[in-house]
């Protein structure tokens, strides 16, 4: 941003433009005050933990999505990808525990399942990156295609029904979602760690600077000897890895995957990123904003569930209005 003479713009406007960066945070605070007024149970620790835990899936994916969007790309397939990874994990863990392809202890089955989730996520993400950079296909089209492929494959694997984790494995694995450390649920810890790592990667490394450079002007980045294709491929692989992490936290929640798993997660993740202040056209964005954006989206539905003042038919409308207001509060960035 070029330096502007301070007397050229009135001070209130400067203050407002300074404030605009806090749009999501102000929105979240306003929502929390409203929530606490509407229902005293909103401000309890239990409710807070419920909301943060359920935000973890979308939040972790949104951290990865921030990199992809900042580099000027998009990924529409993350919900379907999460569903397929969940299905593959369940089938694989059930198989390993039952002795195919090799006999192993249930504990080893769970660990291998987790590894599988991370590997699958990275491979799917890298495949996206490869098709986009080497195949020269629009990210929108590539990931729209895989959105269909991933979900169709899960539906095929599940025969249209649900894939369910075996009882003993489910008991062994469930602490990953339901357990807590120092009173804070595991998924919240993982979410915090992923967000922190994302922040460091974005703001303190060459990779992060290159992602921003590519997003603001790809040609200039190319002339600056940035390996544009490699960086882009890495952003998609990173997002895939995040989807893998989210899925390994998701599977122990219900111990099942069905064709409705992860439906519309892609839109929620993209909404979290954009509400959090990252420009959809690329080049500029913040991890903190994404985290706040993801929490904000969960808080809206939480408040709607905790109250019954609005017709249930209008829930989606309320969510839409809040998203637009928050985006309005930080326009012009």
């Amino acid at each position: 941003m070029p330096p502007v003479p301070t007397d050229a713009i009135p001070s209130w406007r400067r203050a407002l433009s300074h404030l605009s960066g806090f749009g999501p945070l102000l929105g979240l605070i306003a929502l929390c005050i409203a929530g606490a007024m509407l229902n005293p149970d909103f401000a309890t620790v239990d409710n807070l933990m419920n909301v943060l835990t359920r935000t973890a899936f979308i939040g972790i994916i949104a951290v990865g999505m921030t990199f992809v969007i900042m580099s000027g790309g998009i990924d529409l397939s993350v919900g379907s990808m999460a569903a397929l990874i969940a299905g593959c994990m369940i089938l694989f863990m059930n198989g390993v525990a039952a002795g195919t392809p090799f006999a192993a202890s249930p504990m080893l089955a769970v660990v291998l399942g987790i590894v599988l989730a991370l590997v699958l996520g990275s491979v799917f993400g890298a495949a996206h990156g490869f098709l986009i950079t080497k195949g020269r296909i629009e990210p929108f089209i590539v990931t729209l295609g895989t959105l269909g492929i991933f979900r169709a494959y899960l539906t095929y694997l599940a025969d249209g029904g649900a894939l369910t984790l075996d009882g003993t494995l489910s008991d062994l694995y469930s602490p990953v979602y339901y357990g807590s450390l120092l009173g804070i649920p595991i998924p919240v810890w993982v979410f915090a760690a992923v967000a922190l790592a994302g922040g460091v990667l974005l703001n303190r490394t060459a990779f992060g600077r290159h992602v921003q450079a590519i997003g603001s002007n790809e040609q200039v980045a190319r002339y600056a000897a940035i390996r544009v294709d490699l960086i882009k491929l890495l952003t998609y692989a990173l997002l895939g890895l995040c989807v893998g992490v989210a899925t390994l936290l998701y599977v122990p929640r219900l111990g099942s995957a069905s064709p409705t798993t992860g439906l519309l997660w892609e839109l929620e993740a993209i909404a979290a990123v954009v509400v959090g202040g990252t420009a959809l056209k690329g080049g500029e964005g913040r991890i903190v904003g994404t985290v706040i954006g993801a929490i904000l989206l969960s808080v809206i539905s939480n408040i709607l569930n905790l109250t019954s003042i609005i017709s249930v038919y209008l829930n989606a409308a309320v969510q839409g209005v809040v998203i637009i207001i928050v985006a309005f509060m930080q326009r012009g960035r």
């Binding site: 229902n39 149970d41 309890t44 239990d46 409710n47 419920n50 359920r54 539906t155 599940a158 025969d159 249209g160 029904g161 649900a162 369910t164 339901y178 929640r253 219900l254 099942s256 069905s258 064709p259 409705t260 798993t261 439906l263 539905s301 939480n302 569930n305 905790l306 019954s308 249930v312 038919y313 829930n315």
Partner: protein
């Protein structure tokens, strides 16, 4: 003597008439939603089973099963069934009532015999017969069971499906029974979209909001899965009954085994009615008869005693 000859010739006549009917080819098109939810997966499975069973039993019968992901696709498939597959009988589970009425009416206008399943059309003159599950009983039976199990007093929370007329029908039937039990309070009813994850979240928030809940009407076995997990996580002991619905195989198995004391009963709304609708239509057409205008496959209360009659382990649902 004369009478014997007459009897025999009448018999021969009857046989030839019968065989001439049987010789008539029936090409039956089945148009159903794709398997995107375990219930529709059940619909697809039962439709394919009907095809296998009926084609084996009746050489003159050909069944073509088509699945569609949305209403426009289903309308296109109807055209293909008519022009490419040359069907003379159609069994259709419409995606949406309003938008498929016209396409189905056109098919019927070409002389095809039409049976509509479950979701009715907005104009009944577009169909020859209607076969449906019993949505009123789907809401009424759980309400009656819960009212009795709770001794006429206590707090209920309800989960609804996706906002549709079908869901309204079930919910209205449920609340109208509950109106006769003033001691029972329905604390709230929110949409869980027939989805495990959404039901989990809605139930978590119910548990935060209400300190005393005696029973949950989850209104679907998929939603009941999420509800039970949320209750377990919150370690709440106040909820005595969780009533699902539709008789999914996992829920019926739990009922048979008695492995969860909160699951005490269920209500049938089996996708098997797809099988019944195809069978009834095919057999009526092969015999040259018509189906009654309306056939309701009754929803019945499933308890531990009769659970084995509703357990289909091979079905995905």
């Amino acid at each position: 003597m004369n009478s014997v000859i007459r009897a025999i010739s009448a018999g021969v006549l009857a046989l030839t008439v019968g065989s001439s009917w049987a010789a008539e080819k029936v090409t039956l098109g089945v148009s159903i939603p794709a398997a995107t939810h375990s219930f529709t997966a059940g619909i697809v499975w039962w439709a394919n089973k009907a095809k296998a069973d009926l084609e084996k039993a009746n050489p003159g019968l050909k069944v073509i099963v088509k699945t569609a992901a949305n209403a426009p696709e289903q309308a296109n498939q109807l055209q293909d069934l008519l022009t490419v597959n040359k069907i003379n009988t159609l069994v259709i589970f419409p995606f949406e009532s309003a938008s498929l009425t016209k396409p189905v009416a056109q098919v019927k206008g070409k002389g095809v015999y039409v049976t509509v399943v479950d979701r009715g059309l907005t104009d009944t003159s577009a169909q020859d017969a209607y076969v449906a599950g019993d949505n009123t009983a789907f809401g009424k039976l759980p309400a009656e069971y819960l009212a009795k199990a709770m001794g006429g007093k206590g707090n209920i929370v309800a989960l609804r499906g996706i906002p549709t007329t079908l869901d309204n029908e079930r919910y209205d039937a449920f609340t109208s029974v509950m109106k006769q039990h003033p001691g029972i309070k329905i604390l709230d009813a929110k949409y869980g979209n027939w989805n495990r994850d959404d039901a989990f979240k809605v139930m978590q928030d119910y548990l935060t909001r209400f300190k005393q809940i005696d029973a949950v009407w989850a209104a679907d076995d998929d939603m009941a899965v999420g509800v039970l997990k949320a209750i377990d996580q919150a370690k709440r002991r106040d909820i005595k009954v969780v009533f699902g619905g539709a008789g999914a195989k996992g829920a019926v198995k739990t009922l048979m085994d008695g492995s969860d004391p909160r699951i005490q009963a269920n209500v049938s709304y089996s996708p098997k009615f797809m099988y019944d609708a195809i069978k009834l239509t095919a057999e009526a057409r092969l015999a040259g008869k018509k189906l009654p205008a309306n056939t309701i496959i009754p929803s019945v209360l499933i308890t531990k005693q009769n659970a084995k009659d509703f357990y289909f382990p091979d079905s995905p649902f």
